[in-house]
């Protein structure tokens, strides 16, 4: 059971602001049903440009519903200029705190607000429109990740996941998230480096043996079952050159096999920086 405050429970069980506003001035949805949470925010402005009424519809867990309700409590009566300064910490604080793993619920609240305001002003919504998607599982852009890393002084991928969900799915984007963290905090923030040191570095020989073992005992039999084959051509540091043979050589999911299956597996077991290249059909330079 999550450790929710009484305030979270109260706003989850008895939200005051759920519903639909007919012809709202602002109306934006963030998240989607596949990701597991979504928030639609509707706002009606009065003549003075203040938020006269606001309602939400939320699909999600208790903290997502409570965060949505808290968002509206916090923005009612404000002008858009006043409201747009709201941070997700304001929402979390209003609720007496959220479990760290649920911080993304409060981020969703501010995201919806910012998106609604941007659309109202016919401006691009920077966090969605201008960034590139880093986490494909949850559709999170580099802009949003960079923002939370900066705003909340985050140093690990796990923290980023708590705040944005990014990296919580297939984990394929973990190196990209680490790159963003390094971009913000400078290369190899101290404890990130420490975290890496815990894993004893592999010698070149160990790395090569391991790559050979995995390709021979694991990947080859898998491909052979489907009428394909793979040949290990060369290993140059973390670059692994292979040749796909048989069915694999002309298979239409060849790239997926290469990157999705082989590279991911080697990154998982050997080194996250492994790059697999298909040199099938031609030999590496300098070969006889």
């Amino acid at each position: 059971m999550w450790d929710y405050t009484d305030k979270v429970k109260e706003h989850f069980l008895h939200p005051k602001h759920t519903g639909v506003i007919e012809r709202p001035d602002l109306d934006a949805t963030v998240g989607n049903i596949t990701c597991g949470d979504a928030l639609r925010l509707m706002v009606k402005l009065d003549e003075a440009g203040r938020i006269a009424d606001a309602k939400f519809q939320t699909f999600g867990c208790a903290s997502a519903i409570a965060s949505s309700d808290a968002l509206i409590e916090l923005i009612r009566g404000k002008t858009l200029e006043e409201a747009e300064g709201l941070t997700n910490d304001d929402i979390a604080q209003y609720l007496g705190g959220l479990p760290e793993a649920k911080m993304h619920c409060s981020v969703m609240g501010t995201e919806a607000l910012q998106k609604a305001i941007a659309q109202y002003r016919h401006q691009p919504f920077e966090l969605e429109d201008e960034g590139t998607v880093v986490c494909r599982c949850f559709g999170v852009t580099d802009k949003l990740i960079e923002k939370v890393v900066r705003d909340h002084n985050l140093h690990t991928v796990e923290q980023v996941t708590h705040f944005t969900k990014a990296g919580g799915g297939c984990q394929g984007c973990h190196p990209d998230i680490e790159a963003i963290i390094e971009k913000v905090h400078g290369p190899r923030a101290e404890h990130v480096a420490k975290a890496r040191q815990r894993r004893a570095p592999m010698t070149n020989l160990e790395r090569m043996t391991r790559i050979q073992q995995i390709i021979e005992h694991e990947i080859r039999p898998m491909l052979q079952q489907d009428g394909g084959d793979i040949e290990l051509i060369d290993i140059d540091g973390k670059r692994v050159q292979v040749a796909l043979r048989g069915h694999c050589a002309w298979c239409r999911v060849r790239d997926f096999t290469l990157k999705g299956s082989i590279e991911n597996r080697l990154r998982e077991v050997v080194d996250p920086q492994i790059v697999v290249e298909d040199v099938g059909g031609r030999l590496p330079e300098g070969a006889p």
């Binding site: 069980l13 049903i33 979504a38 509707m42 699909f59 793993a101 073992q213 694991e218």
Partner: protein, 405 residues
């Protein structure tokens, strides 16, 4: 909505997570927490008298499994049994480096196999094949047969799935393993006590069970190892359990497991009559009273006590917390409840759409549930779903009465 939580006297529909300790079981173990504290391995009469009770408990477990008592090893939990079985098989076949399991195993098997696939604990790298399941959660038997090869050391396939209750064809799987001389282990933690598990009639080499799923306390399990099966102990120590598990037996817990096994055997018939009827009642009621609901998993080949229902457009954790307000205990395969961000690996392996997986709840019954309890849930749950759908931005276009802007 009633606001008081009934923490002390809940409607408990989470019996695949754990069960209440049966009063008879508690009674049976009490003397061993008091005056009968001797060590069953001692020579003196004071200790020796305790051994008779451990032996009796072993016989009771053997009776439930339909095996010989020497084939039963007491362990600390289902996870220890699973780990012991798989590691023993690998130690006994050091030249083989292939493990076959399924995509929907409990973490006790799944994470162990992943550790093996990554060459953990200084072991050689193992190739692990996870057999898929179909949309109904049934095992892809042809895929299993294809996966068997000369390098396969052990096959570990669960008997019944903890989330959906779907049963796997352990007899057919075991038969293919036996033909090829491959060790077969089944995690039967959910199956034991709910469906007949007569191992002597089945081609099963090793079977894991857990005490707290059958109304014994937490902290005790057992591993069945067929006579003549190569075996290597996991916990190294004294000569207890026929040199197969070191460590002084937890006498109170072994006695408790024995008593629980005896009760489970007596209650086996009730599972297919009383428990199944209540499960069917709640399932039918939910499908009738909540639109856009579906049952996850094959309804014909399933444990009698389990139902896994998905409600579209709502999220499982929210359902559970609202049920909790009414003192109703259930669980969910939704992302928010698992602590990860993705729905349960079982529902994903079945290809349940994420939209439905997020709104899944599991209700698992026991012989102690009553019809009044079930009717109470049927009274409370459909309004909860309606309420959460009102809050949700999705699914309104299906109800023209409540048009969305």
């Amino acid at each position: 909505m009633r606001e008081t939580t009934a923490v002390d006297n809940p409607i408990y529909l989470d019996n695949n997570a754990t069960t209440a300790v049966a009063p008879e079981v508690r009674e049976a173990m009490l003397p061993f927490l008091g005056r009968l504290y001797g060590n069953p391995s001692s020579i003196h009469t004071f200790g020796g008298q305790v051994k008779a009770h451990v032996d009796e408990a072993r016989q009771q477990v053997a009776d439930l499994l339909g095996c010989h008592p020497t084939e039963v090893i007491f362990t600390s939990c289902g996870t220890e049994s699973d780990n012991t079985a798989i590691m023993s098989a690998l130690d006994c076949c050091p030249e083989r480096h292939h493990v076959i399991t399924t995509r929907v195993e409990h973490p006790a098997v799944k994470n162990l196999c992943q550790m093996l696939a990554q060459g953990g604990r200084g072991r050689p790298l193992y190739r692990v094949t996870e057999i898929p399941v179909d949309a109904a959660g049934l095992l892809d038997v042809p895929a299993f047969e294809d996966a068997l090869d000369d390098a396969t050391a052990v096959v570990s396939v669960m008997w019944a799935n903890n989330e959906t209750g779907v049963l796997f064809p352990v007899e057919a799987v075991g038969a293919r393993c036996r033909e090829r001389g491959i060790l077969f282990h089944t995690d039967a933690v959910q199956a034991v006590g709910k469906v007949p598990t007569n191992v002597s009639e089945l081609p099963i080499d090793m079977l894991s069970l857990s005490g707290h799923k059958i109304h014994a306390p937490k902290g005790v399990g057992a591993l069945y190892v067929r006579r003549g099966t190569r075996f290597s102990p996991y916990i190294i120590g004294g000569h207890q359990e026929g040199n197969r598990r070191g460590g002084t037996e937890s006498v109170p817990l072994a006695v408790a497991l024995g008593k629980a096994a005896e009760l489970a055997k007596q209650n086996l018939k009730k599972q297919t009559t009383q428990v199944a009827a209540l499960r069917d009642r709640i399932e039918r009621g939910l499908l009738e009273n909540a639109p856009d609901a579906r049952v996850n998993g094959c309804r014909d080949q399933r444990l009698p006590n389990t139902t896994n229902v998905s409600f579209e457009y709502v999220e499982g954790e929210a359902i559970l917390l609202m049920l909790d307000q009414h003192g109703i205990c259930a669980s969910s395969g939704s992302a928010c409840t698992t602590g990860s961000l993705e729905p349960s690996h079982v529902l994903r392996a079945m290809g349940v759409p994420f939209t439905a997986a997020h709104g899944s709840i599991r209700l698992s019954l026991s012989v102690y549930n009553t019809r009044q309890e079930i009717d109470k849930v049927l009274e409370v749950l459909p309004p909860i779903i309606r309420r959460l759908r009102e809050i949700s931005p999705f699914g309104h276009d299906k109800e023209p009465a409540k048009s969305k802007a």
